[in-house]
């Protein structure tokens, strides 16, 4: 029997989230190695058109799980819909992007069958009949080759950017079926009152061509303003920050880059005194060119950077501002 790889699709405002396409890319890798089949699952009140799109992008079969209660995400609604499907199709693997939604919901599903989730994976190796997923424990100081030795279904979530979706087909021609799922409305225990924006959205880093950001490593709010501010001005750049900076209230949340802030895609991104925690890095992977300046040459940010300078930001930035002005004068 061919192995089934189930991808649970996440969508927002009628669009498939990029992470779900990356999960699809990972699923294709497994399916191709095993001669298996990729099955997508889209839960919504109206899921068919999203399911069709997912089928075009590479799923062999997509199940539109429809119910009025699925109009918006609730963990119990998704859990019921997906658990039912898993029971029906008995997949070998269940994959999702490692998003807040997946973390909020997928372990509820896996716990029912006594399975943990191989979470936040950055790669996969096929070892005969089993998949070995690569994780980054200890804040990405190590890479761990990890397996789930229990019976199927197995569960994994995939780190943003780890499985590029660039090579997915445009017209795969997978099939779509629509299931009217049964949802026990009484079991929807979380009653969502509202989803709201925090702070102002006037700072739209995603539209900026150049972004300069700083980390807690700059020492103080004054230093941050001085160093990040002067370089941003010289480059005509928008200002961003890592989470610790925002937590310390040096800048409003609107400037935060990373998993709990904005994901940016500028031509140039400059990281000053940012160590490069994974929660930050996932927000900058779309940048065309990354410059990192940090005193710690082991800082993980350098793994992401195009160019790096190891040194004291307080010394390098004034020199950089001068060099930019010099170049402009020429």
């Amino acid at each position: 029997m061919s192995k089934k790889i189930l991808v649970v699709v996440e969508h927002e405002e009628g669009k498939i989230r990029r992470g779900s396409l990356e999960a699809l890319a990972a699923a294709r890798q497994l399916a191709e190695a095993w001669g298996g089949q990729v099955i997508g699952a889209v839960a919504a009140d109206q899921a068919t058109s999203l399911a069709e799109e997912f089928a075009r992008r590479g799923a062999d079969q997509v199940v539109a799980l429809e119910h009025p209660a699925l109009a918006r995400y609730t963990p119990d609604g998704y859990r019921q819909a997906i658990a039912g499907l898993i029971e029906e199709i008995a997949p070998e693997w269940v994959l999702m992007a490692h998003t807040y939604l997946a973390q909020d919901m997928l372990p509820l599903v896996s716990a029912a069958s006594g399975a943990p989730v191989l979470s936040d994976c950055v790669g996969v190796e096929i070892d005969g009949e089993r998949a070995v997923f690569l994780r980054q424990p200890y804040d990405a100081k190590f890479v761990a080759r990890t397996v789930d030795n229990g019976p199927a279904p197995h569960f994994a979530t995939l780190q943003s950017g780890a499985f590029p979706a660039d090579d997915l087909p445009e017209n795969h021609g997978g099939t779509v079926s629509t299931h009217a799922v049964e949802i026990d409305a009484a079991a929807l225990r979380r009653e969502v009152l509202e989803v709201r924006e925090v702070g102002d959205r006037t700072v739209d880093l995603s539209a900026s061509e150049v972004v300069v950001a700083g980390g807690r490593g700059l020492g103080s709010k004054e230093k941050f303003d001085e160093l990040v501010g002067s370089l941003a001005q010289a480059l005509g750049a928008a200002i961003g920050a890592s989470r610790p900076v925002v937590d310390s209230e040096w800048l409003p949340h609107a400037h935060q880059i990373g998993s709990s802030g904005q994901a940016i895609t500028p031509k140039l991104y400059v990281a000053l005194g940012i160590s490069g925690a994974i929660q930050h890095v996932v927000g900058i992977r779309g940048a065309q060119c990354i410059v990192a300046i940090n005193r710690d040459k082991e800082a993980p940010i350098f793994n992401e950077a195009t160019y790096g300078i190891v040194g004291d930001v307080a010394e390098v930035v004034p020199a950089l501002v001068a060099a930019i002005e010099e170049a402009r004068a020429q």
Partner: protein, 264 residues
């Protein structure tokens, strides 16, 4: 309200971690340990809820060897009322699922109305134990809790979403919440609190006392296996600009950004 807070002891952030001989874990000897960051916020949340309600008990629980007692003591020094140290060797090893099973058994035996956890441990970082736990207990849960209030026997919870958004919802009790770092300012432990912690009760229930059989927990019950662990392959493609003086380095960088990368 009885609140159970689950915490984990992890190596401190600046620790220099070394792979063990088997290459499947880290050398634990000579490390400094601390309470996992988001777990501290969970303790703080528990203490504030009790304070606001004006009644209740905050029981703090950890799974780990003898050294983990210090993590409990830190939470007790912050103000938690009582500790549970899951120190039996049979608990050890394991994966998020086996840990969740043990914690679920504790939550049941304690009849805790609210279970608080951090979101993700800074060591293995599976980030799922609280939600697995909720699944096992068949209770509602919220991951990445950024705010919580008790309202008419339910919880009003704010959940962090991506891209700077938040979801506000009502969740009935009993429930499980995974608390996000930064929800509140965590109190400092005072010397008075530290001294008082020494006199607080800490129990060490065995698996049998919690009604757990050894094949469900610890190394015997685990499904996840780490085959090997290694440092990440050295750097990507970063080109380091190595000049002695900042102004030379700066000029070289600007030149490269203009000519090579063509981004300015």
């Amino acid at each position: 309200m009885k609140i159970l807070v689950c915490i984990k002891q992890v190596p401190d952030k600046d620790a220099r971690l070394v792979l063990d001989d088997a290459g499947r874990g880290i050398v634990q000897a000579d490390l400094n340990w601390e309470v996992n960051e988001s777990d501290r916020y969970a303790v703080e949340t528990g203490l504030r809820l009790k304070q606001t309600l004006g009644q209740g008990e905050v029981v703090v629980c950890t799974l780990g060897p003898d050294r983990a007692r210090k993590a409990l003591n830190t939470a007790l020094a912050m103000g938690a009322d009582r500790g549970i140290h899951l120190s039996d060797p049979d608990y050890r090893g394991g994966d998020p699922m086996t840990v969740a099973r043990v914690l679920a058994a504790v939550a049941r035996s304690e009849q805790a109305e609210l279970v608080l956890c951090g979101t993700r441990s800074d060591d293995e970082g599976y980030g799922q134990t609280p939600i697995l736990l909720a699944g096992l207990l068949d209770r509602p849960a919220v991951f990445l809790t950024m705010g919580v209030e008790v309202q008419d026997g339910s919880l009003k919870v704010i959940r962090e979403l991506e891209a700077g958004r938040q979801e506000e919802s009502i969740v009935p009790l009993p429930a499980v919440l995974a608390i996000q770092s930064g929800i509140y300012e965590v109190r400092y432990t005072s010397l008075k609190g530290i001294m008082a912690a020494k006199r607080k009760k800490v129990t060490q229930p065995t698996p049998t006392e919690l009604g757990l059989s050894s094949d469900q927990i610890g190394g015997t019950g685990q499904r996840i296996e780490v085959l090997s662990m290694a440092p990440p392959e050295a750097g990507g493609h970063c080109e380091f600009i190595e000049a002695d003086k900042p102004d030379v380095a700066a000029r070289e960088l600007v030149e490269k950004l203009r000519r090579e990368a063509k981004v300015i």
